[in-house]
């Protein structure tokens, strides 16, 4: 089964080059990856990310139940706060990485990766043992758009009824509320590009209208519709992990540099806590520039003739004008002279602190 988002016909009409991704037909690009990347870094771009999955977790024990499943601590969040977390399995790998929103003390939302929606829902419902919790998969009712870039806020201002409807802090949200158009929305100041920006959760029936409204509102700022190609380059420059690349069922969550989201000292037991606590990391995630060429996912990394790691994500950075990659490497090797094998040819790696790009605030 291949899914289409509510925007499918819009993407085709806008000249989007459609590919299959995580079981969905989505545009990999419209005008071109470099132009779209440039729009987001310097102006504003809009992405259809309706393939993401959304679960509604409600009830008296919603918070406690989520806390028993995730590595982060969801206690003490304010209404409208968002928090990133890993969803670990019993052996300390990741079922997924997720975003958790608290709408109120008895209502939380979990946003999951498209490819994992069914797996995650099965996992969460089979491991949620507490009473008075209702977990619903509402993914096929919800569209999601990411409006990203320094001008994203100016676009948002034209869509909302009042500036009070715009979340002020990064990782916070406003809503549910009605946009000027009458569309029902939940507005979150989050994203996957390394820029300031917003993610709007919208009912499918308002999706096409809202997407057009965003493009119209953004026209004066040079907005471009952006595809998966630009999204991947942007998140890689910002060194954000992507499930299936930096994270997987078998990669221990404590080997990915996401310690900020792993609260081993929270006084609550959670699935995988023992495995993570007992585990001694053998690998780490590092970033590197490639001297010549582009090291893609799966390229092997060598110290002399010893294979010490592999590229988990790699691309050409339009911003930096060179090949960048994230590497899963055995601890103790990151300060050595490393090379990457690109289809039989060795290229030198220059290790650099992550992220490759951090926006100036």
């Amino acid at each position: 089964m291949i899914y289409k988002t509510a925007l499918y016909d819009e993407h085709v009409a806008l000249g989007g080059k459609i590919v299959e991704f995580a079981g969905w037909e989505l545009p990999v690009q419209y005008s071109g990856v470099i132009a779209e990347h440039d729009a987001v870094r310097n102006r504003v771009g809009v992405f259809d990310v309706s393939h993401m999955g959304e679960f509604k977790v409600s009830g008296e024990n919603a918070e406690a139940q989520i806390n028993a499943l995730v590595t982060n601590d969801v206690r003490g969040m304010y209404d409208g706060q968002a928090r990133y977390s890993l969803l670990p399995n019993e052996s300390g790998g990741a079922v997924d990485d997720i975003l958790i929103y608290r709408e109120n003390e008895k209502l939380f939302w979990i946003v999951v990766n498209a490819a994992n929606t069914e797996k995650d829902f099965a996992w969460i419902t089979s491991h949620a043992k507490m009473k008075d919790v209702v977990i619903k998969n509402v993914s096929n009712k919800v569209s999601e758009f990411a409006v990203q870039g320094p001008k994203a806020i100016d676009v948002l201002k034209k869509l909302v009824k009042s500036e009070d409807d715009i979340p002020q802090k990064y990782y916070s949200a406003k809503g549910p509320l009605y946009l000027k158009s009458g569309a029902f929305a939940y507005i979150s100041r989050t994203g996957y590009t390394g820029e300031d920006g917003f993610e709007l959760y919208i009912k499918n029936e308002n999706a096409v209208k809202t997407f057009r409204d965003i493009l119209d509102a953004g026209e004066e700022f040079g907005i471009l519709p952006c595809g998966l190609g630009a999204r991947d380059v942007l998140r890689l420059e910002a060194a954000m992990p992507l499930y299936g690349h930096e994270l997987s069922d078998t990669i221990p969550v404590d080997e990915v540099g996401l310690g900020f989201a792993i609260k081993l000292f929270k006084d609550v037991d959670f699935v995988g806590k023992k495995a993570i606590t007992d585990h001694i990391p053998e690998y780490e995630r590092i970033g590197a520039f490639v001297e010549k060429g582009i090291a893609r996912e799966g390229s092997e990394v060598y110290f002399n003739d010893i294979k010490v790691g592999y590229v988990t994500s790699g691309t050409h950075s339009p911003l930096l004008g060179r090949g960048i990659c994230m590497i899963r490497i055995k601890k103790g090797y990151k300060d050595k002279e490393l090379e990457v094998d690109i289809r039989g040819r060795r290229s030198k790696l220059e290790i650099t602190p992550l992220p490759f790009y951090k926006r100036q605030k």
Binding site: V33, I34, G229, D232, V233, R296, T315, H316, P318
Partner: protein
């Protein structure tokens, strides 16, 4: 000089024994933004229909096949710094020059015939 095309989207411009090689406008537009050209080395032997170099777009790698048999005698070093020249004008941007060994393969197509295959 008229260009001849392969069914794998390369073009060849034959001038006596010297053959300039590039990729078609169609190939460049399908690849999207080209960000790296891995040029062959002068002196490399190449065989008709076999990969002898690569061009990379942000998302993918494409192998370029030699449109004739021969030996590389020159490469367009401008592409090291400006691979986007191929996107700007693929059929006006040569990538490598081959010294022809033997005849031009008979199944190369005129531009008109090539475009009918797209």
């Amino acid at each position: 000089m008229a260009k001849l095309f392969t069914n794998t989207h390369e073009w060849a411009e034959v001038d006596g024994k010297n053959v300039k090689v590039g990729i078609s406008n169609y190939a460049a537009s399908e690849l999207g933004d080209i960000v790296f050209v891995s040029l062959p080395s002068v002196g490399d032997k190449v065989s008709y229909g076999e990969s002898f170099m690569e061009v990379e777009s942000v998302k993918s790698v494409a192998e370029i096949n030699a449109p004739v048999n021969g030996k590389i005698i020159a490469v367009n070093e401008e592409l090291d710094a400006a691979p986007e020249l191929i996107n700007q004008d693929a059929e006006g941007t040569w990538i490598a020059e081959i010294e022809l060994d033997g005849d031009v393969p008979a199944d190369l197509m005129t531009k008109e015939d090539y475009e009918k295959t797209l």
